[in-house]
């Protein structure tokens, strides 16, 4: 019996994908987890793995076509293919799968600047494909202006996850119920969605690209939900600047990657995170979720918009390794060649506005992380050292942090740790 393979829902803000290229053709054998197609979403290109072993029967969608997430894209015949055998456990009787996509690829949702694992999302994963909406459900949706995003969040209790009339009524009840009295002074209500503004005679409408819309939504969400606090320290990077000046040309020649200040900063941040593990976390509603891995996101201004590739396990890399990893990710971000893997799993974000000439900026947290650190431009400034005035290379570092998770003294400990490390860098700091 052929299995219909569906494009997985990778998140509530990703509504469609484009089948860029079919990697398997009708008649070809496909192994489970083998890439079936290259799929382009708003941000990343990903290889979409086959959920089953079998023979590809036919494509349901041609190359280049945009399809809504959840739609079937091809059929795979699994009938004569034995189920994969677990080497350690006795295998169950061979059975053709009856359900579509039994083992879906990891669920991802789009974060403010990239994809992140689904388990961090506050809402339950919607079923991949639901039975059609009944007439009365459609009527209620229309009558109460229920948006597709709201509908995604409604848990269907009918057969096959069907959204029943009762589900909608329960949802509407909850929607209209007054919120519980806030324990603290009431937070300002989220702004009501503004009606589409009428265009004046001297104005011009610029339609939103999908990326712009997602950045807008996620920035607004971060700003709305996270009580952000902010602070800045000045870091004397004179020694580091000298050292970098001395080695950068040779490094570039040898490694093929530019040696910017960024890998040094990442190194310092990673070590500071080790020292202050609470900063490497996220808000979990009734708990704080500590992240065991240190995956550093780097904000990059790509042609299509802001994107945040992630250096996974950045604590295992040397400065040279970080320089090369950053070079690689930034390069691919600019060429729009990032994969899902490249943008997922970030636990802390570094924002290098100094590269744009800024000396002071106030970043918005990459939701749902605990903090974001910004490195500003290195400028030579007169400073007072031991009652004498000296010309030093100074870099401002700013942090925005989630005040639910962290208090000022914890954040200061972190920024001081970063500062201490950067100021200690100089001639002789090992690159490898």
């Amino acid at each position: 019996m052929p299995v219909r393979v569906e494009l997985p829902h990778v998140g509530e803000t990703v509504t469609e994908g484009i089948i860029q290229k079919w990697l398997k053709q009708p008649g070809e054998r496909v192994k489970r987890f083998e890439p079936l197609a290259e799929v382009v979403t708003d941000k990343v290109t990903m290889e979409f793995p086959s959920p089953v072993d079998g023979v590809l029967v036919r494509h349901l969608v041609p190359e280049g076509a945009a399809v809504p997430m959840g739609s079937p894209i091809c059929e795979i015949e699994t009938a004569e293919v034995p189920a994969p055998v677990e080497p350690s456990a006795p295998s169950p009787p061979v059975k053709a799968p009856v359900a579509v996509l039994e083992e879906p690829p990891p669920n991802m949702v789009m974060g403010p600047t990239g994809l992140r694992p689904r388990e961090e999302a506050p809402t339950p994963a919607p079923p991949r494909e639901r039975p059609p909406l009944s007439p009365v459900v459609q009527r209620l949706i229309a009558e109460h202006n229920i948006t597709p995003q709201e509908l995604e969040r409604i848990q269907g209790t009918g057969i096959g996850g069907r959204i029943t009339k009762q589900d909608i009524l329960r949802y509407l009840e909850a929607r209209t119920a007054p919120p519980p009295a806030p324990p603290t002074p009431p937070a300002p209500a989220p702004p009501a969605p503004r009606p589409a503004a009428a265009l004046g005679a001297d104005e011009e409408a610029l339609p939103l690209t999908p990326v712009r819309r997602i950045i807008a939504e996620n920035m607004a969400r971060s700003a709305r939900e996270i009580p952000m606090a902010w602070s800045m320290v000045e870091v004397d990077v004179t020694g580091l600047a000298r050292w970098r000046e001395a080695v950068k040309e040779e490094f570039e020649r040898k490694e093929g990657a530019e040696l910017t200040f960024l890998p040094f900063v990442v190194k310092a941040v990673v070590e500071a995170l080790k020292e202050n593990p609470l900063v490497n976390s996220s808000w979990g509603g009734d708990k704080i979720i500590l992240k065991k891995r240190i995956n550093i996101g780097i904000a990059v201004a790509a042609p299509q918009g802001l994107v945040v590739p992630v250096i996974h396990d950045a604590d295992r890399l040397s400065i040279a390794g970080l320089a090369k990893a950053i070079h690689d990710k930034v390069q691919r971000a600019r060429e729009n060649r990032l994969t899902l893997e490249d943008v997922q799993g970030g636990t802390f974000t570094i924002n290098n506005t100094g590269a744009l000439g800024s000396v002071l900026s106030q970043a918005i947290i990459n939701y749902p992380q605990a903090a974001i650190l910004t490195t500003e431009r290195v400028v030579k400034r007169p400073v007072v050292i031991d009652d004498a005035i000296a010309i030093r290379s100074i870099m401002n570092i700013t942090v925005t942090f989630d005040h639910r998770i962290l208090d000022g003294h914890q954040m200061s400990a972190f920024t001081q740790a970063v500062k201490r490390r950067l100021e200690a860098m100089g001639p002789g700091t090992p690159l490898y």
């Binding site: 009944s134 009527r139 009918g158 029943t164 009339k165 009762q166």
Partner: protein, 327 residues
């Protein structure tokens, strides 16, 4: 108020109407000295005499033909067709004549007859004593078709039928005659033809039925209440004309409809209720309209096992209700 059986309520209704209005007569096979095969007219011949309680030959066409003639001459006859299985000879008289007079004379001449007929199975009646026929007559304009299920409804509706100026086909489920009891007021009352009755309120699904299966539906609803499923049970009472308002109001509330009847599935009352809901109730539906009916076989079989297999029993209704509730 007294607790009565369905047959007692029917007997009371006829007796009271015959006492109230001397134009009311009864005629049929064995309705006189024997008091009717189910004793619906027991004692009538002594109280009202042979002129108003008429034993007829075994000729159904002539029973209804005579009734039509008497009605056209000012009487209000109640004709009894002993078993619905034997109703076919009256079709020409009832459908071809009685149902057309009012229309054909532009409202000048009406035929105020009632044809009473015990119908339905679960009585070990086999092929010739178990049939339901409302589906056939349902199709004919000019007729009213009533199928009560409780003593209270049977009495009130039969009185309305007798007082109605047009022909009314009054189907009495013979299994309910002595198995269903209920309170019946002592004073005179009528129940309007064409008005359904919500016998049990619920919010999860609507079930429409009449006759014996109505009681099975109530039992099933009671059983499902223990599972937290609230079933609304609507007794159609009159299948023609249908109470479209009550039917639609119930489905607007629940979004789901199940129609249960013992008559064959195809072209039965359930088909018409379904069509009504698909048309006027479409945007209120949360599930497909379901029917649980007698199968499309010529008649209810004799063997008890096959009777059970034919009949929409309480267990089958529970399954159907549960499935629809979960849908």
């Amino acid at each position: 108020m007294a607790v009565k059986t369905v047959i007692e309520a029917i007997r009371d209704a006829m007796r009271e109407e015959m006492r109230r209005d001397s134009r009311v007569i009864v005629l049929g096979e064995d309705v006189g000295r024997r008091g009717g095969v189910f004793l619906a007219t027991e004692g009538f011949i002594d109280e009202f005499g042979e002129e108003r309680v008429i034993d007829t030959p075994l000729a159904e066409a002539s029973i209804v033909g005579l009734a039509i003639g008497a009605a056209l001459n000012g009487l209000r006859p109640i004709a009894e067709i002993q078993f619905t299985d034997f109703i076919w000879p009256i079709v020409n008289q009832l459908v071809g004549e009685a149902a057309r007079h009012h229309y054909g004379t532009n409202g000048q001449v009406s035929v105020p007859i009632v044809v009473r007929s015990p119908y339905g199975g679960m009585v070990r009646g086999g092929l010739y004593h178990s049939q339901s026929a409302e589906g056939f007559f349902y199709h004919c304009p000019g007729l009213k078709v009533v199928c009560p299920s409780t003593p209270y409804d049977a009495k009130g509706l039969l009185k309305s039928a007798i007082r109605d100026d047009d022909p009314v086909l009054f189907f009495e489920h013979k299994r309910t005659y002595r198995t269903v009891r209920g309170e019946v007021p002592d004073e005179d009352y009528t129940i309007p033809i064409g008005v359904a009755d919500v016998k049990r309120e619920g919010r999860d699904l609507s079930v429409f039925s009449y006759g014996l299966t109505l009681h099975y539906c109530l039992q099933a609803a009671e059983a499902l209440a223990k599972e937290g499923i609230q079933v609304e049970v609507v007794d159609l009472r009159t299948v023609k004309p249908l109470d479209t308002e009550t039917i639609l109001a119930s489905v607007k509330k629940t979004g789901k409809a199940l129609i249960v009847h013992e008559d064959n599935l195809t072209g039965g009352v359930g088909a018409e209720v379904s069509a009504l809901l698909a048309d006027a109730g479409f945007t209120y539906l949360d599930a497909p309209i379901k029917r649980l009916c007698g199968p499309d076989v010529p008649a209810m079989p004799f063997a008890p096992t096959l009777e059970q297999a034919f009949m929409p029993t309480t267990d089958k209704i529970i399954d159907a209700m549960r499935h629809l509730a979960r849908y």
